[in-house]
Symmetry: C2
DNA sequence: TAGATTGTTAATCGATTAACAATC
DNA sequence: TAGATTGTTAATCGATTAACAATC
């Protein structure tokens, strides 16, 4: 069997993730088929783009009927998910860390929330939302023992750098940095950064200048 | 006096916001000048891109000395900030809403956190972090009376749609949607959406496939 | 059959980078 | 002066969209 295994464009990967979210909702509502233009409309995209993304992942629909919702969810899973799952940790269990933890619970079975880390004695040494919380000093052992591949950083900005360093030397392979400090990582670690203030400033700018 | 007022590319606007964050830190550390390659390195960009962004906003540096940190912060402010400020509200004061509120406090004087909205009686009718919290039913009056221009939506997904509708009919001009539900807004409302799960799935995918 | 939809290539558009002139 | 940096245009690259063939 031949497996389509080229690297997909980052933008396509993002959109596939978004499509899946929507498809899961469609499935819940009992929808069996979906047209490219329906999916496009739900995501403010064009139908061509949706079809092209689907083509790039090697899936196909049925002429005049659209795409089978259930099968497409599985097809996206084949691309986005690791067969045996990937373990995830959150470092910094403040409001942001907790928000992610809560949202996450039970949603993505292939991304297994495995450990939490904090410095607060009230949080460490117990389970939060059913996930064990350790002191950040335990990052090296726990990340290695539990084979944690992905770290989400939601610590206060002044600790962002050292947190990243700890995760990296513990052998993490991907980081989602939600602090306001841009990080530097070695080449073999994938880094994604997001700052809400930038999003908000973008909204402020365009909502102002676009209204004539 | 001639004002440079063309619309900047969205990507440039994002980067200017990021540069400013970094420049503010540089200023705190007493740095007076910064080279394009220094700023580039801090943001994983190229020096050319930094210089081009700066050029596009109509600012200039000094040959061989770089850019004056203080002046550049002001120049970015002239682009991103509204002279008299813009009022912001958060709808949904759960962990995510609270995280934003806390981070936000005192950071961006031109984005004035003006009102919070929730349904929980323990939160409404009092101040949280110094900002008054109202019941979501009061959105129409408060948004109009307080001239709120930007709404951040951090409600549970099932309420995302109606929250957006309420904000829009109350006359909001920009929305930052942090729920997992894509929204539809009329043409004259600027919408920015962000979903952490997509970011996380992107990290999972690339951290897996990029390691050979 | 006509119409609607998928699948795919080619063209276009926009964003980044290369190249280099200017200048301190 | 030589070297380093800014500023800017032109070339390249990548992402989106247009066009259209295939087919149900």
């Amino acid at each position: 069997m031949f497996m389509k295994m080229e690297l997909l464009p980052a933008k396509t990967v993002e959109r596939l993730s978004e499509y899946r979210r929507t498809l899961i909702n469609c499935l819940k509502e009992g929808k069996e088929f979906i047209y490219s233009h329906e999916l496009a409309r739900l995501h403010h995209k064009t139908a061509v783009q949706v079809r092209r993304d689907i083509m790039l992942m090697g899936f196909s629909g049925i002429q005049r009927k659209g795409y089978r919702v259930k099968e497409m969810i599985d097809a996206i899973g084949k691309i986005l998910d690791c067969k045996n799952g990937q373990n995830v940790a959150i470092v910094g269990i403040g409001h942001l860390g907790t928000a992610i933890l809560q949202y996450f619970t039970g949603k993505r079975p292939k991304l297994k929330m495995t450990a939490l880390f904090d410095v607060d004695k009230n949080k460490t040494g117990r389970e939060i939302n059913g996930i064990p919380c350790y002191h950040v000093d335990e990052i090296p052992e726990i990340v290695e023992d539990k084979n944690i591949e992905i770290g989400i950083i939601t610590v206060p900005p002044e600790y962002a750098k050292e947190t990243a360093e700890r995760l990296i030397s513990a052998g993490i392979s991907g980081i989602l940095n939600l602090t306001t400090i841009p990080l530097n990582v070695p080449e073999d670690v994938y880094l994604e950064e997001y700052d809400m203030i930038t999003s908000l400033e973008k909204v402020a700018y365009f909502s102002r200048v676009l209204k004539k």
